[in-house]
Structure formats: structure tokens, C-alpha cells
Symmetry: C2
Subunit: 239 residues, 2 copies
DNA sequence: CGTGCCCTTGAGTACAATCAACGTTCGTGG
DNA sequence: CCACGAACGTTGATTGTACTCAAGGGCACG
């Protein structure tokens, strides 16, 4: 059930059998949500965190103009609101982009988990720091990259992050986003996303369609988006 | 020496005398840097963290185009690379914008500090989570706000963050940024920053000059930048 | 008193937004 | 099974915000 989560953690650090068992035990229950639902609302006091088991989610901010900005995508294995453990309430919403399955871990259990395994405490701290690193990379994208570069970069990031948790299939992956949602990630309008997508297709950098993305030449896409995975911290570090 | 840092922490949680003393003891030495120096280089293995005692710094990413993007500003009281404790190396650089004084805290000391005071461990986790929250707000700014809104928003953020650590003076604060550096925060060109700044001045929202910013009507600036400080987590939460 | 950095201004351009309409797909109910 | 509607994707024409290029001015510092 939490295999993807363990893969994600173990890509960065080693997790003992004991720790693994303790994580499993910390799960209080499993909840299902349909697509397009706001699962966590900003500003609300929280007493539990959610671990994404299946589906895609996004952190969103609603702007006064009525527009939305997505600040991070979440895939299976991601702890979507672990930071609420220290923040108590969130500054953004978390919504489901597809139907989702989520494991509920009460903050009390998180507390016990890291009291018992301080090492896990540091691993989870690391995870939230990696989220921050992803935010910084998006800041750089939005601030300094063109629409085409931004989009290429994002498709690379998604590929690498999904690969870590075993959700890719060769050079492709399931891809449920609408062009509007993609626009909300990239800070563009849906119309311009459509045109940029066509340009990426024309350059043979990507094949998108029917819920699936294929990247025929990852190196080329990487170059188009000046993508460097260093910000994802994929090396394993000694405990 | 670390008064600003304590103010920052105590704006969010209570810190005991014992904890305060332990933080002081964790400091290994103090270093001085001139302006415009890269103090922390991305990708380099780190064994210590730096606490900013005086001056302004910035997290920067160098883009292949030769441009730079700043993803966060750092003021006195900020732990500029606390996240290197778990990340081991950084995905970005940290540079001085002015002459700076920094306290050096070896990771080993951070480790001892949080082993001895698990509560402090959570407080520092919280601090890095607030950094992530600031990143998300910048993402929203860069993705969905106009140049004028972005700039107004940033001047509000700076004011509030400086106020927490007692670095404001009435409605104004010392402000050392060049227009190029401001452009690197906002994802704009220096030329457009110049024009946007003039527009803010024309609308009487801000007075900038000779190393100082004055905000005659904070409410108005807030409205212009749709600034809401919730993302800075300034309430005190029970331990 | 020059030199370099920063700020300012103007003219022309371009990337992405806006506005508007049409096409496609898919789920649903008659 | 087909008709309908809604959501999503596509296209064209036009506009506008911010970029580019270029030059000049102010000021501090050696």
C-alpha cells in the first residue's frame, strides 16, 4: 500500500524494517476522493496528514482575479500535507486532479513516529525540504524561462518523479492533466498552453494524448527545458 | 547577537531560557562577508549552517541564459541554509546583497541541539516550512500577478518580515537592493522594474530612494499587491 | 576628474494574453 | 441507440504587457 512512499524515501536514505513497520502502523485509515475536489482547505486547523497512495493532486492558490496557480504537483508516494504537522494550518489548498486514495496519519502518530525514530524525523524533514527545492525550481521557471522551456522542464520533472516511484512505463507515463490545469502550473493561459504543446509536438519532443505522455528523446527534452534533476535530490546519503 | 533570530522564532512559538542558551552555545564562530559575494555554492557538500546576523542575502539560481533568478530574500535572524542540514548540499546559491555578518553553526551542533531539545527540532522544521510557504507565494506572484502587483506584494513582504525582527522604523525600512536585483526577484527586466517603480511612486504607494523605502499607506500597498500575510505564519501556536 | 555602476528614457518588437468562435469527445438520459 | 450538453481542445484575429536595443544622465569613488 505504501510501497511508492517507501521507494521515494529509499531513493534518498535507507529505511529499516522496523521503521517501515512503524510507518505502516501510523496509518489511521484510508480515504477515497473523486477528481476535482478540494481535499485540504487553506487556513483550516489540521490534526492529521495525508499520504497519497493513488492518483494525482496539486497544491493550489486562488487569486483574487478568479484565476488559480498550482505550486506543486503531487504523485503517489507523496506526503501531500506533511508540513501541516509543524505549520498547523496550510497557506494553500490541496485538490485532487484525478480520483485519489489517501492514507490518513494523525499528527499524534507522526509525533510518536519521530519520537521513536529520530532518524525518520530527519527523513521527513528532508522530504519537506525537497518540496521547497521543487518550489524554488518552479520559481526559476516562472521567472526566467519561456513558455516552451517551462513546459519541457515540467514534463521532465514529472517523468523523473514518477520514475522514482515506479509509475513510468518505458519512456511514457499516464498523464491526466487538462490544458487548463497545465496552464495553472506554468503561469500561462490555456490557449497559449495549447499552442506551446503543439510546438513541442512539432519538434518531436513529446507525444501527448488520450491520458498519456510519451517522451521519445528524453535528452532532447531535457535540453529544451534546461532540466537538471539535481534539485530533486535523488542520491542516497549515508544515514 | 542572535536577538533577531529569537524574535523570529518567538513570533511563532515559545522558546525557553534553556533553549535560548543552547542556541547561543551552538554557534561556532562569526564570519563577515562583503557585498555581492557568493557565500554558499550550490552542489557543494556542507557541514555547517549559517545564521544571518546582519545584512541582506538572497537565494539565487543561475540560468543558462546568463540571467539570474532570486527565489527568496534573507534578512537578519534568518537561518539562510538550515535546510542543508538534511539536504547535505544545496540546489541554489546564497549570496550577500550587502556586507553581512553570519554565525556559523556546524551541523553536528544542530544535531546535538535538536537531540537535546526535540521541541527546537520542530521549531526549526517549522522555519524551513515557512521558507517553502514563501516560495509558494512567490510562485503565485510570478505565475499570476502583474508586474505592479508583484512589486507591491514584495515590498509588503519585506516590510512585514523586517518588522518581526525589529528592523523597521515606523513606516519605512533600509533598502539596499539595486533595480537589477529587484528584477531578479520579480522575474522582470531592470528596465521594466524601473518603469513599474515609477508607476508605484506616481500612485503614491511607495517612496524609494537613497537606500530606503517608505510606505505611506500600507493598506493601499497591500490592496495593490493583494498581499495577505497568512503565508508568513505569524501567529504563536501552543508548544 | 575620470570611470564604472546604476538609473532613466525612448523607440521598436515580441511573446503571451484576450476575445471569440468552432470542433471534438464523452457521458448521460430520453 | 441516438440526441444533447458540458467540458475540453483548437484556431484565428487582435491587443497589450513586458522585452530588447540603444543611448544618455547622475552619482560615488578612486
Amino acid at each position: 500500500m505504501i510501497e511508492s512512499h517507501l521507494k521515494k524515501l529509499r531513493a534518498r536514505d535507507s529505511i529499516s524494517q522496523e521503521e517501515e513497520a512503524a510507518i505502516r502502523d501510523a496509518i489511521f485509515e484510508v480515504r477515497e476522493f473523486p477528481a476535482d475536489v478540494e481535499v485540504v482547505h487553506h487556513g483550516v486547523d489540521m490534526s492529521e496528514s495525508l499520504l497519497l497512495l493513488q492518483g494525482w493532486m496539486a497544491r493550489t492558490k486562488n487569486m483574487s482575479s478568479g484565476q488559480q496557480q498550482i505550486s506543486e504537483l503531487q504523485f503517489c508516494g507523496d506526503f501531500v500535507d506533511l508540513h501541516s504537522f509543524t505549520l498547523k494550518r496550510l497557506d494553500h489548498n490541496v485538490m485532487s486532479l484525478t480520483a485519489c486514495r489517501l492514507a490518513v496519519i494523525p499528527h499524534e502518530n507522526v509525533r510518536r513516529l519521530i519520537d521513536r525514530f529520530p532518524h525518520l524525523g530527519r527523513v521527513y524533514w528532508l522530504m519537506t525540504n525537497i518540496d521547497a527545492s521543487i518550489h524554488r525550481e518552479w520559481t526559476a521557471s516562472l521567472g526566467r524561462r519561456s513558455a516552451l522551456e517551462r513546459m519541457a522542464h515540467l514534463f521532465c520533472e514529472i517523468f523523473v518523479r514518477l520514475k522514482v516511484v515506479g509509475q513510468t512505463n518505458g519512456t511514457s507515463y499516464d498523464y491526466p492533466l487538462t490544458q487548463l490545469e497545465l496552464a495553472e502550473c506554468l503561469g500561462l493561459t490555456p490557449v497559449h498552453v495549447n499552442r506551446t504543446l503543439q510546438e513541442l509536438r512539432k519538434r518531436k519532443l513529446i507525444e501527448v494524448g488520450r491520458g498519456r505522455v510519451n517522451i521519445p528523446d528524453f535528452q532532447a527534452l531535457t535540453a529544451a527545458g534546461e532540466f537538471d534533476p539535481e534539485y530533486l535530490y535523488l542520491e542516497k546519503r549515508p544515514r
